[in-house]
Every structure is written in structure tokens, then in C-alpha cells.
Symmetry: C2
Subunit: 199 residues, 2 copies
């Protein structure tokens, strides 16, 4: 947009780099933001603060501003169960169920040969070190039901066989809330049948 001042183009570029945001959306967001000048200042200050403070938990690699995150340093949580997730937002989704009282381990992504994400790019060695350091009862794989998630689950299951004392489990596959049988795919429906519950 050559008719716009450079500084605006730079913010549009910043937004454009975020996942799922293209140049059109980026400029719409920037124009909306610039119309609220106080918000621009606060936004800038908050980002500056994040730049200073952003840090990863030394145990689970979740975002924190201390050495360990609030979940890892909570003595009331079960230190012997670790839920392995791909992304930060997955922790939040699981926390919202209020059904899980163990710890987490963030891989920081999922295996993807297409995008060049190999096991070395993920926090897998860190997970193995964690198992060797502390006695764990169970590792729950809570990974996306995507090609990448499945590839990561298969890889992890294989290398976790080295630790026979640790139970490795994964989230149940089944029909999600609100779904119709008619529109449920065969793989999901097969799993739902296989893992049916007694009433």
C-alpha cells in the first residue's frame, strides 16, 4: 500500500506474519486498532513487557515468568502423571475440563516431515530426561487427531517403550458432543464402537 506511511505498513507486516492472518485481514486489524489510539499505546507496552518477561518453564516448557510455571510448582498436583501436548493452547483446553490434576509437557509443535519438523525440533529429549530423572506413573498423549498428531503419537509410543514401568495412554477417540452419527467419519465411528461404554 504505497499510499500509506511506512510505519503503518510495518505494523500491517507484523500482523501479516501471524498464523491464519493474510494481508487483507492484517490491514483491517491495523486500521481498526489505529482508530483507538490509547489501545495502540497499551498494546505496545504489553508487548514490550512480554519481550522482557517471556520465559519457558524449565520442566514442562509452558510459558511463565518464573523458573517453573504455576502448574509445575503447585504442590497439590500429581507429580507422577504427565500429559504431553503439542501447543500452549492445548494446556488451556485441558485445564478448562477441571478433570486433570497432573502436570504437562509441551512438545512445542508436532512432527511434520512436510514442514520439516523433526523429533529434534520438539522437546522430546527433554521428556525422556524428565522420565529418567523423576519416577512417573503415567504419560498421557493428548495430541491433535491430525496426520502430524498421529505421527507424533506413533513416534512417542515407540520410544517410550524404553520405559516399561511407565504407562503410556492417549485420549479416547469417539463421537464429539453435538455430532450426528450420520456425519461422523468411519474412523471415528469405528473407534467409538470399539471403545463403547457399558451403561
Amino acid at each position: 500500500m504505497k499510499h500509506l506511511p511506512d510505519y503503518i505498513q510495518r505494523i500491517i507486516d507484523d500482523f501479516d506474519k501471524l498464523p491464519g492472518i493474510g494481508p487483507k485481514t492484517a490491514s483491517r486489524l491495523v486500521f481498526s486498532l489505529l482508530n483507538r489510539k490509547d489501545d495502540v499505546q497499551r498494546f505496545s507496552e504489553n508487548l514490550a513487557e512480554a519481550y522482557q518477561k517471556v520465559n519457558y518453564c524449565e520442566q514442562c516448557y509452558n510459558l511463565t515468568d518464573k523458573k517453573f510455571c504455576s502448574i509445575c510448582s503447585d504442590p497439590q498436583r500429581d507429580q507422577t502423571v504427565v500429559c504431553v501436548v503439542g501447543h500452549n493452547q492445548d494446556v488451556d483446553s485441558i485445564e478448562k475440563t477441571n478433570q486433570y490434576n497432573g502436570l504437562y509437557h509441551l512438545l512445542n509443535g508436532l512432527l511434520s516431515p512436510l514442514e520439516g519438523v523433526t523429533p529434534d525440533d520438539l522437546k522430546i529429549n527433554e521428556l525422556l530426561k524428565r522420565i529418567e530423572k523423576k519416577e512417573l506413573k503415567e504419560i498421557i498423549l493428548a495430541l491433535d487427531q491430525s496426520l502430524e498428531g498421529e505421527a507424533t503419537a506413533i513416534y512417542l509410543t515407540k520410544i517410550l517403550k524404553k520405559y516399561p514401568s511407565v504407562i503410556v495412554s492417549q485420549l479416547a477417540r469417539g463421537i464429539p458432543m453435538g455430532a450426528n452419527i450420520e456425519y461422523t467419519d468411519e474412523v471415528t465411528l469405528s473407534s467409538a464402537l470399539k471403545n463403547r461404554n457399558k451403561l
Copy 2:
């Protein structure tokens, strides 16, 4: 997300306030951004610069960092034609056609009784003052084909009757590139028929 540090929640809230971005998308964007620490700093600095510099052209209300925007201060552009648009991004769309060499006037929104946007909220008086100050040949209304856009066009057409020497026109309605006749709505098709071109 009570397990996250406050400073992260604040940035998520900042993103959440942008149009079309909900809390889920906001946290996804923030997590992605925080993984690229240099980008956080640059983003923050660019916003701080924008906060300092953001300014509106005194003639057309487009974003600029000077008194007048680059379009208004371009002597090669036709100063007697003004294209009235609702939003900043509309200027960019029209500029990209390379078919328009006049000036713009940004209303900063469109009339919307539902959302409480009245003529006083838009830069309509500023447009009238502009007409009175400088002799204009033509005003082109380039407003969205939405309820709000049409309401604004009707309102403007009515008050612009006060200036009989100025031609008021609006963008042609017709079948967009790539569309099928079968799926084109009746209003569009009627206009396309009525405004048919000789070959």
C-alpha cells in the same frame, strides 16, 4: 487462563479486542508470536512508533504522518474529483485498480442505526465543507453493497442535492468477475441487465 502469567493474558486481551478475533484465535496468535521473541520486540516498537506518529489527513481523513496524506498532496492527481469511501482499506482496493486519479474522502464508517452510527459520527460535515471550499466536478460514492452502505449512499445523495453543480455518481452494480449467472442474486442481475454495455 489462570495458569498463565498476567502479562500474557493482557496481550491476549489486546488481540481479542480486534474485529473478527475471538479469545481462542487471540491466544493462538499470542502463543505463536511469543515463540519468536525478536518479533515481539519489533512489533512493540512499531506500535509505539505508530502511537507517536498516527495522524489523519486534514483534507480526506486517510491515515498519514504529515498534515496531508500522500494522495491529497500529489499535484498530479485530479483535485476536482472526490471518491467517498467508508473505510481505510477501501482506498487501497481502489488504488490497486490503477484506474482512479482523483482524491478520496474517508467517512470513517457507514451509517448503521442498529450499531448507533449516525451522520454525526461520520465525516459528512467535513465532506460538505470540502465541497463549499473547493470547486468539485464529481463525487463518486464507493460504498459497500450492504444495508449500511446503501443507507449511507441514500443519505449522501439526498444532502448532496444542495450542490447541483457537482455530479454525484456511484460505482456500477453488476456481475463480479468469476461469478455464475445461475448463482447471481436478482438485484445484482437486474442492475447488470439495466446497465448492460454495447459491444
